[in-house]
Amino acid sequence: MKVALVVSPQASKHGKSENQLISDHLQDRGHTVVIGSSLNELNSMIDCQVGIVRIPDRVSISSPEDDLIAALESQGVRFEVSSSQRRVTQCKRTTQILFDRAKIRQPLWQLTTSEKMPPWDLPLIVKPRVGG
């Protein structure tokens, strides 16, 4: 079985090390592993892609969840739309919206700009690469 491990171009040195470890163990078990930076690159080369551990992780959202879609869109998250599902790259703001929705305790957060800082007490954490 050929298994694809999809590695994002931004994968850290640490991530590459993880991929190599997983690849080595899969090969020890008789699988052929193809590593690449995108599924498009790999689709013609593989029998099966397993989206468990490798990047990019995608969040699938069923159409009936209109309130979630509206919440994501209000934060500027862009979707890929197929016939029954919308898919979105897992990024910081998507994750934080989904954490809020799942009622997981997380620090207050806000998508903002340099001109519009939230009125919270300092210090604040800045996450500049929000993705999406």
Binding site: M1, V3, S8, S12, K13, H14, G15, S17, E18, L21, I22, H25, L26, R29, H31, C48, V50, G51, I52, V53, R54, I55, P56, D57, V59, S60, G76, Q90, K92, R93, T94, T95, Q96, L98, F99, R101, A102, I104, R105, Q106, P107, L108, W109, Q110, L111, T112, T113, S114, M117, P118, W120, L122, P123, L124, I125, V126, K127, P128, R129, V130
Partner: protein, 134 residues
């Protein structure tokens, strides 16, 4: 981290960015978990008392058993984004309250964690067999 007014005023970005409340960490946890279980958990202990606990910046790992609360929040974090194995960053504050910080696709394991690699590969094979059996 923006600590004072001058840093706040000086911070400029052409792109929107996320700003987040700072939670003073008593401990910074990394768990490797999916929606059902935690495979490994360790505290990230930064050098020189720095607040930023990143192994890539020299933070040490202190392995611990996972408390039930740590298991619950880790699994919930994975489940919230549809499941899968992630490195979950979680802050424990001075009152022992756990706060979800972020998920990492690069889980944060090494060849020093052979059991974790084995479990990850087991899960990949399980998924393969599930696909093949459909």
């Amino acid at each position: 981290m923006l600590s004072d007014e001058s840093e706040l005023k000086a911070y400029q970005s052409n792109e929107p960015f996320i700003i987040q409340e700072f939670i003073e960490p008593y401990a910074v946890w990394r768990t490797i978990a999916n929606q059902n279980q935690v495979f490994l958990s360790y505290k990230k202990v930064p050098e020189n008392g720095d607040w930023l606990a990143a192994v890539s910046l020299g933070a040490d790992r202190q392995y611990h058993q996972s408390s039930q609360e740590l298991i619950d929040i880790s699994c919930a974090m994975s489940k919230a984004v549809g499941g899968g194995i992630y490195g979950c960053d979680i802050i424990e504050d001075q009152y022992g309250i756990l706060w979800a910080i972020e998920l990492n696709s690069n889980c944060g394991f090494e060849d020093t964690d052979p059991e974790i690699v084995k479990k990850v590969v087991d899960l990949i094979e399980e998924a393969l067999f599930n696909i093949l059996s459909k």
